[in-house]
Symmetry: C2
Subunit: 302 residues, 2 copies
């Protein structure tokens, strides 16, 4: 039987560091994380971030601040959660909050925006010598054939042709990276969700598009050249291919996690107006032992 | 001799409306501009925006606020420019400020992020019955073979293969749109810039990438699989193909402006640390007649 994530971590048989895949970094005197307004010479990154075990990322700055405040309360940390400080206050590109071993970061909308953040986050975790880090992308998404409010745990991120791949351009050449996510971890999360009465949850493929309107078959953009029937036909094909929700960041998230040896989880609420925080609120109602399972995020990997 | 933009506008021989290309919009009872937190039923868009003539967009929310304040002072509008209100305060996706006939909006980073904003902006201008609107994208960029601080007026936006095209996925199929920008307008702007001593300006191709690190040949990302020599070789080829700067939004900006009958201008400072506001400051030093040329943005199209 496959051991659980927590068992593997607890036994210390299984442990991993964050791997940058760039030989040039070792030769640099200083590494500036431009879009975080942080750097290896100006900040003591191991001291600031060395204890990070969970990184939760989402599109909206306001929501990731609210999420950090929620975690702060859950962990019963000292101080006023309203006064939580944005570590990236020197820039307005992203927001970042640290609450105990949890980092909550906004990434904006779309693959290029989250990609810049991930490059600098992975370097940050590397410079800080973090170990056994799990990344959650938590967000909203459009559901495909699901009841509103259903939570989708992504088994893989797929492109507009439903393939589990991400095309990255490197010096003008297209290379393809896998976007498969950890199956065992997804199953563990699903198992956990079955214990919660009010949390309909499925494992499914998540389609990642580079456009919110034409790319996702919306009829209300400034441009639309297709009929409602053609839209439904495309979504039907997507559903047949295992797609259960659509968003705009998962392929590069999954691809970069894989390449850099990070456990990555994509967790979306399949409804635009409902926020994934509901998931955490639902978990809170279960009165899980705060302290042992010291973050709401943690609950997802037990 | 080609008449100038201002002559054409003044003569009223040439006048254009903002064209949405979506037959479904006419049948909708209400159009909600989700990411602006505005809508046709909840807001009187013609009253709020009907007089808009110039839309200036840039990545950073703080900078677009600063730009709006600068324009406010230039136009000597009543009220305190510090108290300028974010029209999109109901959401944190974008910021929007209106100062006289100028709209200043942030668009985040990357093609998907600016694309969502452009869909909703174009619908907004359409619903508000705006005419003769000019869009400026003003931002920072990486220069290619240019002295730091040089301003690049884009003749066209090109992709990673240096082609003037934008690939848009519509219901899973890739369609290609042209990203040529108005040549006459670019030449007018260049002519104007020659009158300014401290404003080195060129017309050139602007390469748009979907990634800041691997896509632009940076050696300091979390991932890097190429040598400094390979990077320089790619940039050399780009320069040969007429590329003078690199950024992350111009292709979709140019493509959508073309399709919707909008005059679009991409104007970047070819240096990361210097902001395009310097251009406007330089113009201000010329003591152009504020009132006639009632916005700093306007100066670029005379």
């Amino acid at each position: 039987m496959r051991s659980s994530y927590s068992q593997r971590v607890a036994s210390r048989v299984w442990s991993f560091t964050v791997q940058v895949k760039n030989p040039h970094l070792d030769t640099m005197e200083e590494d500036i994380l431009y879009h975080f307004s942080l750097g290896t010479k100006t900040h003591n990154l191991p001291e600031m971030f060395g204890d990070i075990k969970f990184v939760c990322v989402g599109g909206s700055a306001n929501r990731m601040r609210a999420f950090a405040q929620f975690i702060h309360q859950e962990l019963q940390l000292p101080g006023n959660s309203e006064e939580i400080r944005d570590i990236c206050e020197g820039t307005d590109r992203y927001c970042m909050y640290k609450v105990g071993p949890v980092l909550s970061i906004s990434h904006g909308m779309g693959v290029p925006s989250i990609s810049i953040m991930l490059h600098e986050l992975i370097k940050l975790l590397h410079h800080a010598h973090c170990r056994d880090v799990v990344l959650f992308r938590i967000g909203t998404s459009g559901g495909v054939g699901l009841a509103p409010g259903t939570v989708v745990i992504s088994s893989k991120a797929v492109d507009h042709s439903f393939h589990p791949q991400f095309e990255q351009v490197v010096l003008g050449k297209v290379i393809t990276r896998s976007t498969e996510l950890d199956e065992g971890l997804a199953n563990e999360l699903l198992q956990y969700s079955t214990e919660l009465q009010d949390l309909p949850t499925v494992i499914g493929n998540t389609m990642c598009t580079h456009d919110f309107y034409e790319g996702q078959g919306r009829l209300d953009g400034a441009l639309c050249s297709f009929s409602p029937e053609e839209k439904l036909e495309y979504l039907r094909k997507a559903h047949e291919a295992g797609v259960r929700n659509i968003e705009m960041e998962s392929t590069v998230f999954a691809a970069m996690c894989r390449v850099c040896g990070l456990k990555g989880i994509v967790l979306c609420n399949a409804l635009h107006s409902v926020w994934c925080r509901d998931v955490f609120v639902a978990l809170q109602h279960r009165r899980l032992t705060v302290g042992q399972i010291f973050t709401c995020g943690t609950t997802f990997i037990h």
